[in-house]
Symmetry: C2
Subunit: 523 residues, 2 copies
């Protein structure tokens, strides 16, 4: 390694030489974290309470920051070790807890290079390569969606000249930007004069993500402006009910302006019927936004692409490759069918930053969002996309689908030990575990429970999870379905094997039976 | 290095062994980028047009993404080399172009570790250490502001138990959250029912950042709801004019609800008088938000702390340590004097994520924002804060102030070669360069120019900048001041020496004289 010359001042307690040592140490530990595969028998997490963490850090260097802290490298290195030791290992093959898992090491490395180069996506001047990469990744997404009339083959220059959308630090932000675009199309003056007294309304399914409601509050429309449309039996929006709800809203004198389709609901992975929704939104002149934060990965496999049938008819689409595709946090693309609307909606033409007399100013992206500087997330996505190829993306999705199908089969064949609690067409599997005493085959349903049994079963899920966390054996999410806690397994990490999945089901049953026995003793 | 076991599938064109090689290569180049000091004679940037970049990448692997791309490691490594070669080197000692520069290598390393551990700040469960670190950094900021009644010395547990605010992916987002908190305090029902027909108004100085206007548009209030208050001669808000403007707004039947104080304006680095503003906002019951994205670093030096006098009287404060303090993009803290308002304003209690029956759920931070998952930016800030200590932060600010003072002296003693165009009390220096033919001493002002001279001088700044970029000698920003382009030097990078600064002034004069001669020939 070259000698680091961090010149100028010895900053605080650190000399240049000490900085070099510390940075090298952290870099080595970060690389090790990425390249060292954890096996099923390694802990997913070493659980500690806030008090225990605080006391462990007190042995090294307190978590609290004190005005006259003076911490040497040996201490800081111990702190780094403790940070790694006490963090959740999201690439572990028994980690099924979130809708992200198994970061692709190439994405991590791309993120590192972006941090090292430390610039912002706002102007071409400051991010020449990353500006073109952002246009390339968003442009390719738009092609896959059918938003763009041309392909890179027929017009190779196009995606590098004009953007088909923009990247954002997270799906909630991108979903909110899409709703702002929708309001702007319906009421262009609202950018200048505000929404005023009109009741603008948004439609989303009962199972849609909470970011729509949060966005409506921030947008000054209020959470009441989000009209929840009932789900059908498959967990997707009942589109006939949407049609009725929009007409009812109009009849109340409100102004419906946007519908949010969910492509991959958070809990069950349901995909709203985009083609059917597009008919309704066209009839009523609503903007049709697709929240595909979770489900966008379905674009890449023939096994799942049909879930997004009709997407070319929609107005905007948000995909988080940091979810199923294994990019690191955060990586979000907003594609817009008419991307010039981004300028019209968000531009403020600040003259200190977006000087028109500057070189290549027409490529500046920063004025096509309400944000200013953005991290160069395009770099890690471009590198990963190039390195894996779309063949690699397909393989990742298909592997996840294989595992999800395996669990669905295991459930169907479990004779009531596990019961499917939601239809599954994607990488989510939502199911109930039942103690031996309550099993009645695959057609079991919660109405068979007495109130006491229901209460006891509801309380068992958090206990099973706590056991997993305490023993570090696995991490699995749960959530109430009709008021009764059910488990959710999510597949996306290529490191997960069928053995890992089977062992996790065994753990749920094992812990579950023990915890149920304790609970049942009190019934 | 250990053998990488990226198990499971060979993803696309990459085998596990190839992935290991590629990741190691990128990691080594990223580390080299951080530790290798660039000297003044190295290029700050190797300028290339979009066409040139595209053609260079076409020699390696096209920027465009193609469905059947299959790119080998040798090619990807060449692409990485090209990315680094064609990026702007923001840690270079002649880079003065933005309000960020000179990333601290420890912050970069902290960012790397965060990427490697790839989790989100939303729940304690998924980010136990980082949740406590976020509380610690925001808590210490709140102490420095005087928001918190207790200190860590007297109540060491406190900052680890409850949050004094939240971190955000950028200043624009945090400023918008502060305005939403302000609206919520004035009209709690607006979260549910929207703003309605009321005309809510916001007050900010003429030189405030454009994010206030952009936020007002997104918030559904409209850009017209932002009432720009005139600056006084020192570039700070005229507080008497604020008082009049608020009363005028009330007299028009509007509902003033927030004032935005700017601590460190983008162009001149002016700090609004917080104490005087607080008197006005208290009288009229307005939320007083401080946009200290740029100026928050002033907290750490006795030479600049007075610029934030009265900050303890304000309601919210946003600081971007990724600016002057050298953290990597993005690193933003929002501190709130009454932080429990974050819950009341933003919570939606999504039951799949924020299960109340989960361990330590009371520490979950994700429901105190409209965002969902957030990158663990707290880690890099905590590590840097611990490693440098506040002594180190003070040294960074003082070094920047020394350089800014040096340029201010150089300007004053330049006999009209450079003319100060704005008062300077922070790390910004805004000045006009004049060709020999136009110099008339330090009292020169633009009214002395003929229309032709004015036009020619205005056009010289972009040409000087283009020369710098083309030759890679330095990067300096410019912006129109009263319609005439002026230069802005910004100091914060500890690598910058007085020699770098003097050489940059020499370059401006040298290029300027040449470009002026070319322009003057056409007069």
């Amino acid at each position: 390694m070259r000698i680091m010359a961090y010149p100028g001042l010895a900053m605080g307690t650190q000399t240049d030489r000490q900085t070099e040592q510390l940075v090298s140490y952290i870099a080595a530990r970060a690389l090790e974290t990425v390249v060292e595969h954890r096996h099923g028998s390694d802990p997913v997490v070493k659980l500690a309470s806030p008090d225990e963490l605080q006391s462990e850090f007190d042995q090294v260097s307190s978590l609290a920051l004190r005005p006259h802290d003076s911490v040497d490298n040996a201490t800081l290195q111990q702190a780094v070790d403790l940070i790694i030791d006490r963090s959740v290992h999201t690439a572990h093959p028994r980690f099924f807890n979130q809708n992200f898992a198994g970061a692709d090491p190439i994405a991590v490395a791309g993120d590192w290079l972006g941090s090292a180069l430390n610039t912002t996506l706002a102007t071409f001047e400051m991010a020449p390569v990353f500006t073109l990469m952002e246009n390339a990744v968003v442009g390719r997404l738009a092609e896959l969606l059918g938003y763009r009339p041309t392909t890179v083959e027929t017009d190779a220059n196009d995606p590098l000249r004009s953007a088909a959308g923009i990247m954002c630090p997270g799906g909630s932000t991108a979903n909110m930007m899409a709703l702002q675009l929708a309001r702007h199309r319906k009421r262009p003056d609202s950018i200048r004069v505000g929404t005023g007294g009109e009741r603008l309304t948004i439609f989303a399914s009962a199972s849609s993500h909470y970011s729509t409601g949060k966005a409506a509050a921030v947008l000054g429309l209020g959470t009441d402006s989000v009209i929840k449309v009932a789900d059908g039996p498959d967990g997707t929006m009942d589109v006939a009910a949407l049609s009725v709800a929009v007409q009812d809203s109009k009849d109340r004198g409100e102004v419906p302006f946007a519908a949010v389709a969910t492509a991959g609901t958070t809990v069950t992975g349901a995909f709203d019927d985009l083609r059917a929704m597009a008919t309704v939104t066209a009839e009523h002149d609503l903007w049709l936004h697709v929240d595909a934060c979770f489900g966008g990965a379905a674009l890449f496999s023939p096994r799942t692409r049909h879930l997004l049938d009709g997407v070319e008819l929609t107005d905007s689409f948000v995909w988080n490759p940091h979810k199923v595709m294994g990019l690191t946090q955060q990586c979000t693309l907003l594609a817009v069918a008419e991307p010039e609307r981004l300028d019209a909606c968000f531009s403020s033409k600040a003259d200190y930053l977006f000087q028109p007399d500057k070189l290549n100013a027409e490529l500046d992206s920063g004025d096509r969002t309400f944000l200013c500087a953005r991290r160069v997330d395009a770099l890690k996505l471009w590198l990963t996309w190039k390195a894996r190829g779309e063949t690699g993306f397909t393989a990742r999705v298909d592997h996840a689908m294989d595992l999800a199908d395996h669990v669905r089969t295991r459930i169907a064949e479990s004779d009531g030990q596990f019961v499917k609690m939601a239809p599954g067409s994607y990488v989510n599997v939502v199911f109930q575990w039942l103690p031996k005493e309550l099993r009645s085959g695959p057609d079991w349903n919660p109405s068979q429970l007495s109130d006491d049994e229901r209460e006891a079963l509801h309380a068992v899920a958090p206990r099973i999870k706590a056991r997993m966390q305490t023993e570090g054996t696995a991490m699995v999410g749960y959530q109430p379905t009709d008021g009764l806690n059910t488990f959710r397994l999510l597949f996306m990490n290529p490191a997960v094997t069928i053995d890992d999945v089977d062992e996790t089901l065994r753990l749920i049953d094992d812990y579950g039976q023990q915890e149920w026995a304790a609970a049942a003793a009190k019934l």
